[in-house]
């Protein structure tokens, strides 16, 4: 296995999962959003979104604030600086691996 291929294994698996990648993309684009907005944007079910958010929260990538607005539950989510850093790193790695110019560079 080449070192370049081995490097693929170093991808952050917490972010790499498609649903969590969608959540992180939305949360990195806005300063904060509630559960309902994330659900509509990502097209996930309540349970699915809830479990993925819990995983991201455990990793320290999102900050979740739970409360009530009248009789409705209000869950506000925002990306933490660690989350934004991890996301940026993930994007950097993916862009570097998918960039065809880099492959030409290796061959040369």
């Amino acid at each position: 296995m080449t070192p370049a291929l081995q490097e693929l294994a170093s991808l952050d698996r917490t972010i790499h999962e498609p649903a969590r990648l969608m959540i992180m993309t939305v949360l990195c684009a806005v300063s904060e959003a509630d559960f309902l907005y994330l659900q509509r944007e990502c097209g996930l079910t309540q349970g699915n979104l809830s479990s993925h958010l819990a995983k991201l929260e455990d990793a320290g990538y999102v900050f979740i604030e739970k409360g009530f607005k009248g009789k409705y539950p209000l869950t506000i989510c925002s990306s933490t600086s660690a989350g934004r850093h991890a996301f940026r790193e993930y994007v950097q790695k993916m862009q570097a691996w998918l960039d065809p110019r880099q492959e030409i560079g290796h061959k040369g």
Partner: protein, 176 residues
């Protein structure tokens, strides 16, 4: 597949357009413009009492972003969710992070602080706008300005109301 920065930009522009999707900002801005127009008309006419003139101007000043947010928290957010409104005067730290992502420049240099408008700059801007307004009033006349402003306000109000009706028709009740 689109690259990640493009997706982020898309998510960001969707969040921005979400701010206008319910028509509430246009509705409030329309009412505000109409109040300004009424105030200017009263000022030009000179036959109205000072109390009514001040009341109209105060109403115009009070119809700000706070009113929009308060209406949104009752109408929009329970139905289709909340996302932080776009920043008003200065770019946030995240804006610069995204700016770098957009330019494919993901280097590790620390983000620079946002270009904040200073207090002196704000005062100068307000004074310049006021001077331009006074010049326009003396040139065209307050009644004409009031009519043009009033028409613009009415158009904005109708546009906002139509958008709000469409939004309410598409999103019936608050999501449980």
């Amino acid at each position: 597949m689109a690259s990640c920065p493009a997706i982020i930009e898309q998510a960001r522009s969707r969040a921005r357009s979400y701010w206008r999707a319910d028509g509430i900002p246009a509705l409030v801005r329309g009412f505000q413009t109409m109040f300004w127009a009424t105030g200017i008309y009263m000022l030009g006419h000179g036959s109205h009492s000072r109390f009514w003139q001040e009341l109209v101007f105060w109403l115009a000043i009070c119809l700000d972003r706070g009113v929009v947010l308060s209406l949104k928290s009752r109408i929009t957010y329970p139905r289709t969710g909340y996302v932080a409104p776009p920043p008003q005067f200065h770019a946030t730290h995240d804006d610069f992070v995204l700016l770098r992502l957009n330019h494919n420049d993901l280097a590790a240099e620390p983000p620079s602080p946002g270009p904040k408008i200073s207090l002196v700059g704000m005062v100068a801007l307000v004074l310049a706008a006021y001077a331009a307004f006074l010049a326009l009033v003396s040139l065209v006349g307050p009644r004409r300005i009031a009519v043009v402003l009033g028409a613009a306000g009415l158009f904005l109000t109708l546009y906002g109301a139509a958008k709000l009706l469409i939004y309410l028709r598409q999103n019936h009740g608050p999501a449980e």
